[in-house]
Structures are given as structure tokens and as C-alpha cells.
């Protein structure tokens, strides 16, 4: 597809379980972002990847959160030992130039 693809679109998990969320950016986009959105609110920055540079992880809320970007393309956001407050929509975006972000449809995570 031509757009940013995220999977799964919905994930329900039990408290304490680990989850992985995947993002496939637009081909050729060197920058990749993860944001978190809680119940129709604004977006909270989590992490930024740019090419082979060290990622900006300053937005990750705790050490239970981690992200990788393999081969400069696909990215995986991992949340370990999920908590109820982790419930949110996790949005991935990619960009070619600074500032113009193209978002996927998001992965809705519900932690019971």
C-alpha cells in the first residue's frame, strides 16, 4: 500500500502481558515516529527514528516501553508488563521532510 500501515488495528490484552505493535512506513521515508493518543485527546510523543542516527527516546513513559526500527524501515513498539494506563491508540507516522507527518490508522490497545 501507499500509506503507513499499522498492525494490529485492535489489541485486547490482560494486565501484565507483553504486547508488540508494528508499523510499516511509507517506502522511502527516512523518519519514523510513534505517538500515543488517549481517548480522543492530543498526541503524546514517544520516540523518533531518523535514518541510522540514534533514536530520540525522550518521550517513552517508562522502561517498560521500547522500540526498534530494523533496516531503516519497519518498526516495532514493545510494551512489557502492560498496565491499564497503557490503554490508548498508538499512532505511527513517517516523513520524508521535517514537519510533514503521514500517520497510520493506529493500533488501539486495551489492557484489562
Amino acid at each position: 500500500g501507499a500509506g503507513v500501515s499499522q498492525s494490529p488495528s485492535n489489541k485486547v490484552t490482560e494486565k501484565g502481558k507483553d504486547v508488540e505493535l508494528r508499523c510499516d512506513p511509507i517506502s522511502g521515508h527516512t523518519a519514523l515516529y510513534w505517538y500515543r493518543q488517549s481517548l480522543g485527546q492530543g498526541l503524546e510523543f514517544l520516540i523518533y527514528f531518523q535514518g541510522n542516527s540514534a533514536p530520540d527516546k525522550s518521550g517513552l513513559p517508562s522502561d517498560r516501553f521500547s522500540a526498534e526500527r530494523t533496516g531503516g524501515s519497519v518498526s516495532t513498539l514493545t510494551i512489557q508488563r502492560t498496565q491499564q494506563e497503557d490503554s490508548a491508540v498508538y499512532l505511527c507516522a513517517s516523513s520524508l521532510t521535517v514537519g510533514e507527518l503521514f500517520f497510520g490508522e493506529g493500533s488501539r490497545l486495551t489492557v484489562l
Binding site: 505517538y35 510523543f45 523518533y48 514537519g99 500517520f103 490508522e105
Partner: protein
């Protein structure tokens, strides 16, 4: 800390009415963007403003960047039901222009 405050948080108007949404901060941004998000989808970029005092028009939408580059407004003329959605402003920080800081959003409902 919410760097960008949007107002109003929610707006319900009749088709044909005009409206203005505000995005305010005490911080200076290198640029500011406006996105619109519909349910179940990711935000979609509407416009980017870069220069203080800049005004951009997109059909019935008029965007303005404050002279000091700390605030912005979005004005919609003769709103239509298709304008319904969550409007998000996002500022690019001076020291890390790749990192967009999003406002809390304005949810607009245009009734037919």
C-alpha cells in the same frame, strides 16, 4: 506539561456558521501545523505555517500564525458537516524541529 493549549475543547455548530479555533503557547515554535482527524483514522495534515504573521487559506479554512510564533488560529467560514472532526495543532520546537508537540485538540461537530 501541555505546551500547546487549544480552545475551545468542543464546538457544536449549525451548518453555515463560522467558527475560530485557537492554539496558544508560551513557547516559540519554528513552525506550526494543523491536522484534522476523523474517528478510526490518523491525523491528516491541513497546513504548515512558518513565518510570524503568516496567513494561509485553504478553501473555506484560514490559518494564521502569530507574529511571535507562539500561537495560531484556524477560522472556518460557512462550516459544513464534512468539516466535522478533531482539529489538532502541532508545533515544531526550536531546538528539535523534528519533534512535533501536539495540542489537546478541538472536537468540532457541524450539524446539518
Amino acid at each position: 506539561t501541555q505546551l500547546l493549549e487549544q480552545s475551545p475543547q468542543f464546538l457544536s455548530i449549525q451548518e453555515g456558521e463560522n467558527l475560530t479555533v485557537y492554539c496558544n503557547s508560551s513557547s516559540v515554535f519554528s513552525s506550526l501545523q494543523w491536522y484534522r482527524q476523523e474517528p478510526g483514522e490518523g491525523p491528516v495534515l491541513l497546513v504548515t505555517v512558518v513565518t510570524g504573521g503568516e496567513v494561509k487559506k485553504l478553501k473555506r479554512l484560514t490559518f494564521q500564525f502569530g507574529d511571535a510564533r507562539k500561537d495560531s488560529s484556524l477560522h472556518i467560514t460557512a462550516a459544513q458537516p464534512g468539516d466535522t472532526g478533531l482539529y489538532l495543532c502541532a508545533g515544531a520546537k526550536l531546538d528539535s524541529s523534528y519533534k512535533l508537540i501536539f495540542g489537546s485538540g478541538t472536537r468540532l461537530l457541524v450539524r446539518p
